[in-house]
Subunit: 202 residues, 2 copies
């Protein structure tokens, strides 16, 4: 069976997004225009330098993400919304979206299918594991979702990308998560972020 | 004029100490025996591997620390207390301790003298700068003290040592500090911590 990783970009003070998300500002009060551009500059402005970490994202057999990472729609799915990523999302694999509101699976171009899971984090992971077959499952975020998986003890590996600024408020990694023992696996600085990976110890 | 650095060890979720400090447990609820042993294992259990970062601490011409880092005594200095470090503390330079309660300077062995500053963070830094002459000043902590200096815009460089566990509560770096723009200078993993240094940008 593959491993379960969380892969998330955070500010140096631990925030993966600011408050007040809207459709125009998926990362809310992120210190910039709400696009998350500063947090994710390592992916978009320096892809060559960070190729290994970007490639690793693409090795997952299935993904899990929270409702807020998927979109700004709250409550029932009463308007069309297929994610922030256009017709051909960069996942190229099944993506299990946590939600309280049932919705039929939505196939996209390029091999991505969004599945909507209303039975909670454990059920979503079980479905992702089944879809990934022997492959890895990557929990993509946001921080609230990662925190739920960490609290549930369902994470094997934590992959953090730490951006060189602080945000001061927002959605914070580790909030409410009981103390974790980790083993540091790798740490790699690039010009815009440091990539840190940890094994989560029992 | 030398630069002003903050040099502090934190858990991956940003805590430099747990709550409930006592004389027997200087780091309070730190997940262990309160000695800060897990946080500072890099210094004491792996000094060879971390020699550069330990040596850099010794290059400061003067130090500043908060009252809680100096000791568990609260209120007036109504009992003998000369720090946690014995008769020959590892600083070998003037150390300016922030306090609300006046006290005469206390020379120790090895060149360390503890000076007690009641006029606040800016005054303490001015005295440390004067004592350091052309040398650097290092703010040693705790997080509350570092946060005051960051908020006041008085820090040139941030040197973090990130331990491989989370603590979940305690005294947290960056709490209440307005958003900071940083430039990542170095990132060096060793077996127990990752050392990260940042320039604080205006």
């Amino acid at each position: 069976m593959g491993k379960v990783s969380c892969d998330i970009t955070i500010s140096l003070d631990g925030y993966s997004a600011g408050h007040h998300q809207t459709e125009e500002r998926p990362f809310g009060d992120d210190g910039g225009d709400g696009s998350g551009a500063a947090l994710h500059a390592w992916m978009f402005d320096a892809p060559e330098e960070n190729r290994a970490e970007i490639a690793r994202l693409n090795t997952a057999g299935a993904f899990v993400m929270g409702r807020n990472m998927f979109g700004p729609v709250r409550g029932a799915w009463d308007r069309p919304w297929n994610g922030w990523w256009g017709d051909d999302p960069p996942f190229h694999a099944p993506v299990f979206v946590l939600t309280h509101h049932p919705r039929a699976p939505r196939p996209m171009a390029g091999g991505t299918t969004f599945h909507f899971v209303t039975e909670g984090v454990t059920a979503a992971l079980a479905r992702a594991r089944a879809a990934a077959d022997e492959g890895d499952v990557t929990i993509l975020g946001g921080a609230t979702t990662v925190n739920q998986y960490l609290t549930a003890g369902l994470v094997d590996e934590l992959r953090l990308h730490i951006a060189a600024f602080t945000l001061g408020s927002g959605t914070r990694l580790f909030d409410g998560v009981p103390p974790l023992n980790l083993r540091q696996l790798t740490s790699r600085p690039t010009s815009l972020v440091t990539h840190l990976t940890y094994r989560v110890l029992p």
